[in-house]
Symmetry: C2
Subunit: 119 residues, 2 copies
């Protein structure tokens, strides 16, 4: 069969200057994706299957794709896992204060605590 160590399709990540604000807002305007982002906010790096969300694996994969292609997270393939991290610095550079303010607001006045899913 074809060349074996082709990392599947290289994951698309928008360049910092290509990141669209409305795409970011749209990506964050979903409960499941917000839970993912809040979890990454509290913990820098996590594999896909380790988030406190209750959806099918295929659905989860879809949400990660939306977050990645909007520029909110970065994904890299670590072995058979996939590690996710927020693109905090790049977003801060491009849209100063936006991610901070949104995540602070999502955390609520109680401050950053354990992420609870609110479906």
């Amino acid at each position: 069969m074809p060349r074996s160590h082709q990392r599947r399709a290289p994951l698309y990540h928008p360049e910092p200057e290509e990141i669209d604000l409305l795409d970011v807002l749209h990506a964050l305007a979903d409960p499941t994706r917000m839970t993912i982002v809040r979890t990454l906010w509290a913990e820098p790096e996590r594999a896909c299957g380790t988030f406190p969300v209750d959806v099918a694996p295929s659905t989860l994969s879809h949400h990660f794709k939306v977050l990645r292609e909007s520029g909110v997270i970065r994904q890299r393939g670590e072995a058979n896992r996939r590690l996710n991290e927020l693109r905090r610095e790049e977003l801060q550079q491009r849209f100063p204060g936006v991610l901070d303010a949104i995540l602070a607001a999502a955390a609520g006045p109680a401050g950053p605590g354990p992420v609870a899913q609110e479906d």
Copy 2:
């Protein structure tokens, strides 16, 4: 018939504490609505028909409803016009910095200028 100022259904506006962050983000994640909000950001009060957007009146009405019911704007019936304004202070109270950061980011590094529609 004392007062002739009975305007049919009273427009629904969520209380400050009822405003949902994801609803706000969803409301802002649309080009037409973002243009409306940016225009209101630059000018405090405006009638529905005076925004630099190119959609049918019925579509415009729909967008104003989304913005109002999400808590982003307040609408009040002034005669046969309808005046719109941002709920800046209330949003600042509930989600500190969110609206400011988003609108600053939407304005771009060039600073607040004339709102240009980007469809």
